[in-house]
Symmetry: D3
Subunit: 270 residues, 6 copies
Amino acid sequence: MRLTELVRHSLEEDIGHADVTTESTVPAHKEGRAWITAKESLVVAGQAVATEVFAQVGARYEALCAEGEAVSPGTRIGWASGPLRSLLSGERVALNFLMHLSGVATHTRQVVAVAPGLRVVDTRKTTPLHRALERAAVRTGGAHNHRFALYDGILIKDNHIVAAGGITAAIVAARRMAHHLHKIEVEVESAAQAAEAVSAGADVLLLDNMTDDAMAMVFAAHRGRVLFEASGNITRERLPRLAALGLDLVSMGGLIHQARWVDLSMKIEA
Amino acid sequence: MRLTELVRHSLEEDIGHADVTTESTVPAHKEGRAWITAKESLVVAGQAVATEVFAQVGARYEALCAEGEAVSPGTRIGWASGPLRSLLSGERVALNFLMHLSGVATHTRQVVAVAPGLRVVDTRKTTPLHRALERAAVRTGGAHNHRFALYDGILIKDNHIVAAGGITAAIVAARRMAHHLHKIEVEVESAAQAAEAVSAGADVLLLDNMTDDAMAMVFAAHRGRVLFEASGNITRERLPRLAALGLDLVSMGGLIHQARWVDLSMKIEA
Amino acid sequence: MRLTELVRHSLEEDIGHADVTTESTVPAHKEGRAWITAKESLVVAGQAVATEVFAQVGARYEALCAEGEAVSPGTRIGWASGPLRSLLSGERVALNFLMHLSGVATHTRQVVAVAPGLRVVDTRKTTPLHRALERAAVRTGGAHNHRFALYDGILIKDNHIVAAGGITAAIVAARRMAHHLHKIEVEVESAAQAAEAVSAGADVLLLDNMTDDAMAMVFAAHRGRVLFEASGNITRERLPRLAALGLDLVSMGGLIHQARWVDLSMKIEA
Amino acid sequence: MRLTELVRHSLEEDIGHADVTTESTVPAHKEGRAWITAKESLVVAGQAVATEVFAQVGARYEALCAEGEAVSPGTRIGWASGPLRSLLSGERVALNFLMHLSGVATHTRQVVAVAPGLRVVDTRKTTPLHRALERAAVRTGGAHNHRFALYDGILIKDNHIVAAGGITAAIVAARRMAHHLHKIEVEVESAAQAAEAVSAGADVLLLDNMTDDAMAMVFAAHRGRVLFEASGNITRERLPRLAALGLDLVSMGGLIHQARWVDLSMKIEA
Amino acid sequence: MRLTELVRHSLEEDIGHADVTTESTVPAHKEGRAWITAKESLVVAGQAVATEVFAQVGARYEALCAEGEAVSPGTRIGWASGPLRSLLSGERVALNFLMHLSGVATHTRQVVAVAPGLRVVDTRKTTPLHRALERAAVRTGGAHNHRFALYDGILIKDNHIVAAGGITAAIVAARRMAHHLHKIEVEVESAAQAAEAVSAGADVLLLDNMTDDAMAMVFAAHRGRVLFEASGNITRERLPRLAALGLDLVSMGGLIHQARWVDLSMKIEA
Amino acid sequence: MRLTELVRHSLEEDIGHADVTTESTVPAHKEGRAWITAKESLVVAGQAVATEVFAQVGARYEALCAEGEAVSPGTRIGWASGPLRSLLSGERVALNFLMHLSGVATHTRQVVAVAPGLRVVDTRKTTPLHRALERAAVRTGGAHNHRFALYDGILIKDNHIVAAGGITAAIVAARRMAHHLHKIEVEVESAAQAAEAVSAGADVLLLDNMTDDAMAMVFAAHRGRVLFEASGNITRERLPRLAALGLDLVSMGGLIHQARWVDLSMKIEA
């Protein structure tokens, strides 16, 4: 779903046939301004969404700080102008996007700060229909993205291995059917699985729920032949040790789904 | 957006033109089963969404515990059966909904547990396009709902008062324009505002960001004439004291936006 | 359905792949003007729809009299300018909306004229997909609106009472489940039902198909405790007597569904 | 817009996020039946729409009289069965379609009764998005249809003649550009225009707003060479005289837009 | 499907969530130009589609030769300007439309060139969802159009005759039910069928898969009473002979479905 | 666009408000059967689309030969049964898909037959909105697929190199931004470009418009380090020589856009 559609449906969800409070209390012709202000320390994300929201209700939003800027409480991050009715009717949807996305960016930045050289990536554990925005917020926060979806990357997970009848069978089938621009990543949980995957031609190993020591051994055995991704039970505390191992990337679904909304408010000036 | 559409768009987001891993590694004719299991203690929510997700990919999902049931780690909350390709392609979307909604229900139940007699309600701070589901999860967790959207309730907030030129003006205008089945709620921040709202005919007062003492005074001054809702800076810790005050309801956006996803996994059996 | 969508679908219905007459007889580059003229006395409604229709076909419409203006036969109510093809292809859809909506406004004004102080409201007996426009025309004609739809007001009707197992049971259930900004209206057909509804906590009584005398008695018994709405078999002739009773509102579906289209024509000037 | 979509949007308009009265007062598991009854004499139309409406809300509708049957007050025209919630939530939309369409059929039958041998047809003056249904109701009532829309018939009207620079120019252009399965109809207001149209190759003459005598003269002059349609200021009273003239068809927009809704009610049995 | 929608869906098909190559290799702010050049001799068609494609990706396209112009290899037929990302992301969709439609126009022109006076028309054998564009390309190439679709013309084919129980039955039924602006065309395969169709009132005969001699005989028997269309096994080589017969039109599905894409390329200038 | 939607829109394009010929000549209740027959030698493709088309019009289609089967003239490839109206109204759309897709499969099989061991792939030169179907037909014909779209593969073409400021710059940027499951393919036109691409880390070389000798030299220089794809001016005649070179794949847009529709007919049995 494109951004314009996502915003349109979101406004329909919140406004429906009419914003009955605003239409009955605010004259149609009154114009004004409104400021959106950070109520806590946060990393700003979602400014383009806010711009689209206010545009769709007939107002104009201008960002007062850049996407990715870290701001302190009280900072005005943007302002909107236009008919007061538009400002009031668009307020909640704009804030809901900004509070969620800035929450993701803020959380991500806190996480990646502990292991500066490590490539931390997100996963497909994203809020349905918000994936593109959440992934952008992850980049804004300083991490990177994994494949976008099931359609743009080959990742053979435990369930596929069961269904295909083994690691080698799965890799061979994927190589034959997939187009030639796909690398093949395989989820492994042991040194033996890793060895089978490498010898069957995997390009990337997903080391799932392994201890640091186990990962170190797999890495030593196959380094230079494949890429290594660590996944599962990855906490912020563990990142520095993982960085030291020399792995290529670490994936954390929690960049997105453990992030809490940050607090923003909007005040109008009539 | 109706549930069928929300799920359809969510599957399109994740599957797109094809689940390339599954289509290349799993034969089209293979059938199987899969179990979804709780990896932590949680309150189950979202079973109907999971049913819809698997139905849309051509499989069948059956809940193994009721919506709202509190389960311990290791509990199987549902199982799916059908073509293995369908199970694998639907897994992530189904889990994304279940993990988010069960997270909301779990968090809500923890919150309301501390003040059993109090009517705790949600707000319009919801994830765009997920409001109906998140509100249902709030009910599942044991709290109640506020108005759904801007179209089904009159709530005159600070920004409306500024725009309308005062509390009395706003209430009079709302009474004249709105249909006769709407009560009129007004956000107030002081005893003086409360008094003006009551005398202008408000049906409900939203006591915003007031201290317990200030709320108690307003409540004493106008009890029996209007309903009272407390809002702003409401923490779980504060709920028992608020309950003791005798207010009619307390609203907490955090029931939804401070909830974290709970952990669920799916394993197939080929 | 938003206005832009309603108009877009309406133009698709009438134009489809091409306006074959216009495309074959009128050169693409020719510009011109057209006037829309009242062929009878009427109250104008729908000017914003006409503006949208002509905009979507690539022309420009300007109202020559205000929404709600009462005009005599021969009055030009608006004019359109732009490519002649656009004017010709948009003509019918624009007129169909204007003739229907002006018909509703005209009829409504005739009805409410006989009882100036009475709050006359519409019902949900509206043409599917045209409700927002028809309700606006009702306001343009001088009457008011009831709730918009099933989602924004509690109205317990005879069928609900049967299904719920009685008036008291229905009211209690509604009070518990509905959000706190809803008033509860109950349809009653006798003094006994009215008494039960009031004592169970109804906020509004819908007096359905009752005689003037019966309504007067119910009104006397409960006045000051609830609002009173009269409904069913309400004719224009009966309105003055109902006004005299002191009821709060009278609902008439016929404002909309007994209104006939008024006559308008469009003539172009090449 | 296909019927399923029209009904879906209509239900969304009336139900939206929830039928709050029904959901709070009627238990989800209760099943029941409901009868739709004529409250006046009418010709039934729209049974297939009612079937679709109830199907979309999860119930089942069965017609108890045929499309086009003339029934007396008190006749049950159909019944619905299923969850009570479905019956109550679908009631209004089903009735709105039935009351409008049966109104058109009833009015049409009254009109055509006065001139049995005459081919009376509708026009493009139809309610936007309801054209297919209204035209079917016209046939149900005993009249016929004109072209459906701008895309399926060539009808050169006064405005086209002005834009094209004359009758002959318009006909020649239409003949060259239009496909060979289109007849060409031309609106004329005088004997001279009629003569020009015929000699330029028109297949059909639309005699607009002409007196009976004027039409008779045109008919006499060109009979056998073209078809004749009378239009404009056609009243039911005038039809017998028009029938006597020998014209091929008479078009009346009023079959649809002067029809009033007939009265139907639905009662449930829990 | 309107052009804007067709183009929007086409861009979604090719770009999806992101043009990953362009977004990673081309800076967002870089602007540039690009030329679209003919790589072979061809007749240009589809310029309006290219304009729409580039507009939807945020660039601007300007045609450098007119729709229908015959150009030699190396001719620049248009140029686009704007953000380089937009030019690169829109290139393939724009070219796919232009190469296909110019292919149809080029092929059509070659076909009709051999029989200048003959009215050659297309059929309903068109690429699904591309019919309006392909038919326009046919006109651009110098041929004409048959009816657009099943909804705007009566053409009784062999299968209808079987289903209706004979030619006469089918014609009588069509005349009664269809609106009066439809001519009735009937597919016939022999002189006997032609005679029956004419005497039952057909307006047009479709002479299907008949030899030149057989067509000549039918033509001689009924000329002046109906129109004649030849169809089936019509090759370019046969057209001059068919032209000589005096038939009204010849239909060739192959104008569209036997046309090959012509070769165009786009080169940018950074 | 999913198949159900593509078919739905295609049926709307061809049927619109009604199939006027069929509705007026064929009784609604008549049932029958119809056979689809090959009129020339061809490879069958598109059976699933035909099934969907007939299902959407209320009939049932059953394939009589497998997808990919080579059949001779006169072979019945499928049959449909159900209401005659459904068979007649669905015929053209079903045939249009089958004739086009079978044309692609037939042409592809002829092409790949001359170089059995070579991996021949398609390109993004596909008919807008038909890409998934055309690519499936390519596989049915015995060739393979390239990336699906701009979103699922990195292919740096000449225009990207210009925009990025050189081959090395483009590859470095792509490696940094793209996710780790993408291989990076680079279009090169000379040995020098090839060397730069390989040394900058390309995974695949697209050898564009190079002579056999030039390709052989590039292949010799870098074999074993990257994959090689030949593209541009690839004719069927040239394929055996290309196969002998040892390249990994050869891409031919013409598999799809130079394929002509094959001839199929449908005959009903009433």
